[in-house]
């Protein structure tokens, strides 16, 4: 059971309030595909991912980025039960999509860096710590149903 301090809850919610999932989502997914190109293996159906401009201009990448970030919102709203919030998604990623769970960590790092470019000074060390703790818990929940 994860324990959250009041300050951590406020920090996580403040980040969520400040970001636009329709901007951050696409940029984070684009980043993971560009910075860690082996992640492209999971997106064969998205079409052209052969260059940076192909990735940043790909509408399927953008759409999926929004889907992923919106799903993060469920975790923000259910901080006290992130495990069951993501149980179904965990099963999906393990059984159907066969995604190596190490990729969740890579995406989490990219989400953090994209948010950092947008929030700048508002992304203080304390806020970063709370935000990354939240992402760690989400990653852990997503990795849970793997066997």
């Amino acid at each position: 059971m994860v324990e959250w301090t009041e300050a951590e809850r406020r920090a996580i919610e403040s980040v969520w309030e400040k970001i636009d999932v329709n901007v951050i989502g696409p940029q984070a997914l684009e980043s993971v595909l560009i910075v860690y190109p082996w992640t492209q293996r999971y997106f064969g159906v998205f079409g052209n991912l052969s260059s940076v401009s192909a990735i940043t201009g790909n509408p399927k990448v953008a759409a999926h980025g929004k889907t992923v970030l919106k799903a993060l919102g469920s975790g923000v709203k259910n901080l006290d039960d992130i495990k069951s919030t993501y149980a179904k998604l965990s099963e999906l990623h393990s059984e159907k999509l066969n995604v190596d769970p190490d990729n969740f960590r890579l995406l989490a790092d990219c989400i953090t860096i994209v948010i950092s470019t947008k929030l700048a000074a508002a992304f203080s060390p304390d806020v970063q710590a709370a935000w990354q703790k939240f992402l760690d818990v989400v990653v852990s929940a997503l990795s849970r149903e793997y066997h």
């Binding site: 980043s31 910075v35 950092s116 304390d126």
Partner: protein
Amino acid sequence: MSLSTKDKTLVKAFWDKASKKADDIGSEALSRMLITYPATKTYFAHWDDLKPGSAPIRKHGKVIMKGLVTAVSKIDDLESGLSKVAEIHATKLKVDPANFKILSHCILVVLSKMFWEDFTPETHVAMDKFLSRVSQAMSEKYR
């Protein structure tokens, strides 16, 4: 994994700009690492103040950034350029090399925050690769 000519050009161009704020970058990256990854505090138990921006953090932040300046200048041969500092971390300080990745991430967060206009996807991948190579060179002397 190795750095392409394009990677090296991007790193040097970005570093030219970023190095003007070297002291702030070092201090902030180290502060963020100690707060976000509390296990890293074990290496600094001898400091009297681990709060963000404290005097020991600012001082050591400068040392780290000097190391990165050296790394950029020796980008074509990081293993020999960082040989001495790699030796110290392995044999004297005995820092678990997994921590280099952690500090690299915090450096990237600070760089992306301070230089968000220049932190394009191309720059992001070049800097991530560069810091990975630096971490690799820093891990050379462990066994």
